[in-house]
Symmetry: C2
Subunit: 344 residues, 2 copies
């Protein structure tokens, strides 16, 4: 299917990269991620850049470093043929979920997860890890001292910081001149508005804003409310974005490397994907904050207020590269994953 | 996370199942899948049924049999410890994609796929299978005679059959009395309207309608347009719904059993998820039409014009069961998968 179109650059990519001055023109001409009339196939001009090509052509200045202290590094037991299985998670920045993330830092410092396991893999939904005996108070592994109890009010935070951005973007849309570097997504089934802000997909209703669940999102398992979980029990999304969980559970980060080491695990044999036997679980060797892991690669993300990101979001909404005959004219925010790479 | 709330029935489920006359009242009271004001946590009444509980309580009359002749059964080589790996795919009914599906029936009858392989697993995107040498004209396995060449016009079809349903549902919404058995989804980033019709999620723009890509959707791999593929190269979605492919590629069905045998395969080691070496591929033992497979279980789906389905769709949009504190008030159509089960 996309075998031929995604993997290599078309003439547009080569042309633009040889003529960097033209790049900004191309990007300025195509910077809306909100629905726009899709040209009929016969009206379409020559094939444009694919999203991957736009990312590959982004200037160095459009990439932002991720501090190793904001990474959580999980090493699973070796896989087939002894292959190492590492999962790297980027933790959310303030003002989101900092209570739980503070707990996660303490749990990692205490090496609490070492010797725990991946206990649940529910197809199309989540992989979950932590203490397999966590539900049994008599057998549960004691948590380290000093963890905070976080309230459900922390699922969302004031939207005052993004409100002017959203208003500005909506005003631009109304004038038919989409904002050059704040792509917003109005046709969302779950939130009034969604946008990508400081590297993260968020929802807002004008009063509050909150991080949302996409493929690869990491959150905090919990029991019934008002319990919101400590952060010791974590999950990662491995299917269609379960947006119904937004504001019902704490989002703390996203997998940026090694996602396949979670998503390809054998599915659970019991109810809702829990393994029936201890032997089926995948042991966790260690979980550490990135700054404690020798030799960890450096990572960076495509700045989401850059023109490159706006052009990437637009191309995700309007595929005009050679493979496509009908651009969609819109895109779900979870289909605009923030590009993350190892620093070249 | 949902360990406690999804796996067992709350008192509501037990109460309603003991008093079936009340079931229809509960369902009639909550039949809209389109956004509705979500009650604030403090206003919420006692926990309601979870979607799984609604499905479990659906009367026998609300289930529709799937003809074995509309199934495609793929047996992969045995997995770990010699476990059988079967994938069952339900093919789309008319008026959708029948040209490609006719070819698929011929390919299965000719046992053409026997000895081919799963060649590509791209994380968060697709698993793809067929002739590993299909791209190399000199080495490609010859296709059976009599396959049809299908035109891209067949990606969509006239929407005349669903137009009255959509108009009726919209009229009901406008009056604040959602249609009791046609849930529609207006806030979709890719189509004017999406709905579930005769068991399948579809998009429509008022003129045309087309099947859409969700988790588990099966489609026809192709080269650059105007080629639309023969049906010999197939893929299944294993990540966030790649809706940008709608109307750009042929949808032919969905996986209804054994999805984990595709989604948990090792990810490809090469570009866009192709395996670098032949040894990494998963051999396909056989692909047959279901009516040719002895001992195949019977399957049925929850009729999508039933009140049970409307209630299920509403519950997916407004989770009011014990785990949730804030119903979303909306849902993406790909988060309302049509329930399919083996006939009890």
């Amino acid at each position: 299917m996309e075998a031929l179109s995604q993997g290599r650059e078309g003439w547009h990519a080569r042309f633009v990269m040889k003529h960097p001055a033209l790049l900004s023109l191309v990007l300025l001409a195509s910077c809306s991620a909100t629905p726009a009339p899709a040209p009929a196939p016969s009206e379409a001009s020559a094939p444009a850049l694919a999203p991957t090509e736009i990312v590959a052509a982004a200037p160095v200045a459009d990439w932002s470093a991720i501090a190793p202290s904001d990474l959580l590094v999980m090493d699973l037991s070796p896989g087939a043929k002894g292959a190492a299985r590492r999962v790297v998670i980027q933790l959310l920045p303030a003002p989101f979920s900092q209570g739980w993330i503070g707990n996660i830092r303490k749990l990692a410092a205490a090496k609490w997860w070492d010797g725990t396991a991946v206990n649940r893999v529910q197809d199309g939904y989540v992989v979950q890890w932590g203490d397999p005996d966590g539900e049994d108070k008599a057998k549960a592994k004691p948590l380290p001292p000093g963890l905070s109890k976080v309230d459900a009010a922390s699922y969302a935070t004031s939207s005052s910081e993004v409100r002017p951005l959203v208003a500005d973007a909506i005003a631009h849309e109304a004038l038919g001149t989409p904002h050059p570097n704040t792509p917003i997504f109005m046709k969302d089934a779950y939130a009034d508005t969604t946008l990508v802000w400081r590297g993260w997909p968020i929802g807002t209703d004008g009063e509050k804003m909150w991080p949302i669940h996409c493929y690869g999102t990491v959150g905090v398992g919990r029991d019934y409310p008002p319990d919101t979980g400590s952060g010791a029990e974590l999950y990662a999304v491995i299917g269609q974005a379960p947006r119904q969980l937004d504001r019902n559970i704490a989002v703390v980060g996203r997998v940026i490397d090694g996602m396949e080491n979670l998503s390809s695990l054998p599915r659970g044999t019991g109810d809702i994907g829990f393994y029936k036997t201890a032997e089926e679980r995948t042991p966790i060797l260690s979980i550490r904050i990135g700054s404690e892991v020798p030799g960890l690669p450096r990572y960076e993300y495509l700045s989401t207020d850059s023109k490159s990101f706006a052009a990437y979001a637009d191309a995700r909404a309007n595929r005009r590269d050679s493979f496509y005959i009908r651009p969609a004219g819109g895109v779900d925010i979870c289909n605009v994953p923030v590009p993350v790479r190892r620093v070249p």
